[in-house]
Symmetry: C2
Subunit: 435 residues, 2 copies
């Protein structure tokens, strides 16, 4: 029965009729698909989260509205228990819209779209204007040294590799510039950092995302912003024509004291082994610029839909099924850490956790962080999923929020949707601001 | 080598790195994917066809512009030969925008969005107003008989089945109402036919599509229109409340004499067996209401991209590779028939034909209409495609345009993309007209 519950949870993340290892299993899967396709609630919930609430950065009013909305909606499902788990989260606020331009040696300026990176300090009053040094990555900094970097703005311009089928691999290949660029460039006396948006598309939408100053003392922290991919191309071309080109940027972002927020949790108690817990989840917070529909509204509503499906199809699980809507994945992971801490303190036994945090495009399958034996068992269920075009069962990472639950006795899993266009939307507005 | 050329053609329809049966084959596939992902032309071409030209119904100025544009673009690729194959096509013109309303017994009217079905006659001068009889399909007509149908408008309202993973199955399940509804209802004295749009989504966009009067004499032909799915729901509800409800519609569509148009063809001659021909194609015409981007602009530009990839990666095929952009798939299939006729007259030897006419969503794989032996061989290449998430190799139909080539010596194949949302866009405008 454990395996039945597990695949029931897996299947509802994917969305035919075909061969099945077991007719009963196949019939239950079909029942769940039919329910999703004819009475699914996910898109209604996603519409509310994305279009009625919008961007839900930790500590914001919108994040609180999302907590209240999802708690209310979970209660409507008639679960055995719905509760809020308090967690202190960082509060970073963007402030007034950022402003930036490229200035050639003869004083011609061209405005370009930027946005402060999440966690960045503000610029000094009135902004910063300085010469620019373009690099393709952090490793170039040591070669250039303080001589060539001091007093300048470092422009990290390594693009995403467009040839990967999994664009997450391309993301991993250049996100270090965004996360650690300011801390590293600051060591050589840079006055600011501009980072090419982590986006495969050429457009005018700058992409924010988390960054860290590491151990850098507060007074030595330099402001960091992302520039749109089109802006990065323009800046790079302008620098090639004229290395004396200067860049101006102004941002008013700021860190406030931590505030209280919540993970939103709901569960259906297992009928036979209620002490064994299976988690499905996504993160409720999002970056402030976009509507958070892909990152990670999709994961939130898919996770809620799993529990709705168990109730809606009258399937009473033998183990406890819990949906966890994590707070603060984007800039702190406090929700994921708190959930694991509380679970450990209570001595809860988690046997499986599945996270959806890779966007709302077509589901392809799942990655699994588990033992060889467990993986072999999971792979044997593949034929049950194939009629629904779920074909990808691979070893690999799961999700940031469920990572803290890692233990030899738990199977961690991540939903794998199509990723080709995910980074078009990831941490950006959907339409440009007027500059 | 035959198999190398075949899978090269197949692969470029799909869009990682993984295990391969042959390192050389895998390297060539990777080369083609890299080219598509970094210098692909398909989206530029599709933008022109959809946004600069737009709907390209056979016999229209737009269809002719599409012929000229794709011929010009194929010539730029440096193929061995590019030519136009003349074909006479039907010319049906929609005329002034259609107009329709529901009228209750007490005279309250509500406008609803309709569009004439392709090939329908116009309404009598000033339109038709009549009582409505709702049916779920053609088979209900005989039971009702002339008594209950004569003088009325027959409203075919069977919806698409939302529970199929392949929505083409749902399409097949109700398209008979659209295609033959008017011919069948006319036999019982109906004065007109209104058909629920073949669309899974509830929206305000009526979907056109081909219909036929079969052997019905010209003077007995009754006008047929599609109503939007929201309009169909409203009409059905109104009829339940008041069976005396009347429906008015007016349309000015008309059939003109056939006109000359063209299939657009380009080829790379095979280096060893030039007389053996492999075809890849889609159809250049589209319905007039939308921009024809999914049906079948996507298939056209994917097919053109195949030949660009052979040239771009310097892969000289041993057999001749031909791209055929068929004219008039939507309302006549004249282009497909003409191509097969000319091929037969010339004694050309076709060994493989692949059609893409299922939209531009994520590619999943291919269906094959071929011998068991050929299918077994094709299936053995699956591992070469899996790194690119191409996983679906099934027996089944290919495409309407290549159908006339069917012969025991040819392998026919169809691209299988995701279909869940395809019918949202199929034969409709992208935004509603003001009524």
């Amino acid at each position: 029965m454990k395996r039945k519950i597990l695949f029931s949870m897996l299947l509802v993340f994917g969305l035919s009729l075909g061969q099945a290892q077991s007719e009963k299993d196949a019939a239950q899967i079909k029942k769940m698909y039919n329910s999703v396709l004819t009475e699914g609630k996910a898109y209604d919930w996603l519409n509310h989260l994305s279009n009625q609430i919008g961007g839900r950065l930790s500590g914001s009013v919108e994040a609180q509205l999302a907590v209240e909305y999802t708690q209310k909606e979970l209660k409507k499902l008639g679960l055995d228990r719905v509760w809020l788990q308090p967690v202190m989260v960082p509060k970073w606020v963007r402030g007034a819209p950022e402003f930036a331009y490229i200035e050639t040696q003869i004083g011609i300026t061209t405005n370009v779209p930027i946005c402060a990176l999440g966690g960045s300090v503000e610029t000094p009053n009135g902004g910063i204007k300085a010469q620019v040094i373009e690099v393709q990555g952090i490793e170039e900094l040591a070669g250039l040294g303080e001589d060539k970097i001091k007093g300048k703005i470092v422009f990290f311009n390594r693009p995403m590799d467009p040839t990967n089928i999994s664009t997450f691999k391309s993301y991993s290949g250049c996100v270090d510039q965004r996360y650690s660029g300011a801390a590293e460039a600051g060591k050589y006396g840079a006055v600011g950092v501009i980072v090419r948006s982590v986006n495969l598309r050429l457009d005018d939408l700058p992409h924010t995302g988390s960054m860290s100053y590491g151990e850098t003392p507060v007074e030595q922290r330099i402001p960091a912003a992302a520039i749109s991919t089109n802006g990065a191309e323009l800046l790079s071309t302008t620098l090639k024509l004229n290395p004396e080109t200067r860049f101006f940027f102004n941002q008013n972002c700021r860190v406030y004291d931590d505030v209280e927020s919540f993970n939103v949790i709901g569960e259906i108690r297992g009928s036979e082994f209620p002490e064994e817990i299976m988690v499905v989840g996504g993160h409720l917070d999002s970056w402030d610029l976009g509507d958070g529909s892909h990152d990670d509204g999709a994961g939130v509503v898919q996770s809620m839909e799993v529990l709705r499906l168990f109730k809606g199809t009258g399937y009473r699980p033998k183990r406890t099924i819990r949906v966890v809507l994590f707070m603060n994945e984007e800039n702190g992971l406090r929700g994921g850490r708190k959930y694991a801490e509380v679970a450990q303190n209570k001595g809860e036994q988690h046997v499986f956790a599945l996270e959806s945090d890779a966007g709302g495009f077509t589901p392809r399958g799942f990655s699994f962080d588990c033992s060889d034996e467990n993986f072999a068992q999971i792979e044997s269920w593949k034929p049950l999923f194939e009629p629904y075009l779920i074909h990808l069962f691979v070893r690999g990472g799961s999700g940031a929020d469920i990572g803290p639950l890692k233990d030899p006795n738990i199977i961690l899993s991540g939903l794998r949707p199509d990723s080709q266009r995910y980074f078009d939307h990831h941490h950006a507005r959907t339409t440009p601001l007027n500059m």
